[in-house]
Symmetry: C2
Subunit: 151 residues, 2 copies
Amino acid sequence: MKLEEAIKSTKFKSEVHKAVLHILYTAWWLKTVGAKELKEFGLTHEQYNVLRILKGKHPEQMCVRDIASRMIEKSSNVPRIIDRLELKKLVKRNTSALDKRETVITITQGGIALLAASTLVMDEKMMKQFVLSEEEAVTLNVLLEKIREIA
Amino acid sequence: MKLEEAIKSTKFKSEVHKAVLHILYTAWWLKTVGAKELKEFGLTHEQYNVLRILKGKHPEQMCVRDIASRMIEKSSNVPRIIDRLELKKLVKRNTSALDKRETVITITQGGIALLAASTLVMDEKMMKQFVLSEEEAVTLNVLLEKIREIA
DNA sequence: TTTATATAAATGTATATACACGTATTTATT
DNA sequence: AATAAATACGTGTATATACATTTATATAAA
């Protein structure tokens, strides 16, 4: 569906203005499509993101601040997301021995298994479905980088 | 800041995969930059969006469903956003005479004034600051359209 | 006309976002 | 060593997201 139909709007102040709305809409669309797949695994987008971050360092532990710095949405409340993952026994929390202020998190075997299963589905049902070519994706990445270059 | 620094990640499965994360990150970044400006007016991004939608039809009224269909994030809970706008007397709610199930919303003079002031700031401090050219924005819009073309 | 179905909006609930603040602990300064 | 400043995390609050349910009203079908 074209952006114009999606938000029932045809007049934009400029192509740049349209692009801003387009990025916001596409992000929402991507999240929605992904969330639908993740729901079968009882995961939210953010919980999935935290699990992926932890898996990337496994078997090393990570502290909360470290996880937060890798989140896509920087204002995510990581302690609370970990609360939910801990309840489901997908991660384990421990106080750091070196610095008692730090809480170190480890992904459990259950977490690894659920992440593997959900990633498989996400890759098959989402990532592999995109029509966009690798070359087009490179261009897209360059342009997205550029929109954050503020004068 | 490059995406790699922003989310402290260097290895992506593909450029397409990177682009997906990039869109999500850029959307968050755009919302954050915009929200900072809107905060001075006591508005959230979503409240601003609803006011803009209402202004587009003014002096016509709009029902809740009509507003919802124009929202960027389709799962927005419009009645609740309107609750907040109504409390601040930026919009007015009335039951439709034709169909008593419908609630019709009108933007007030105060709403129009606040929207005008905040749009001025948003345009000056945000929209006009982008380095992206109109031609680049066209390409960006084409590619964003394409990423939603799922096989 | 009565009943069933559909529709519009509001409401409830769990989670997340955005941000301020509190508490414990560590590091730096005097 | 005592105090101050910084840091890490957790918690509180308002708003939003995502989605299910409820209530009122309108429309369709029996």
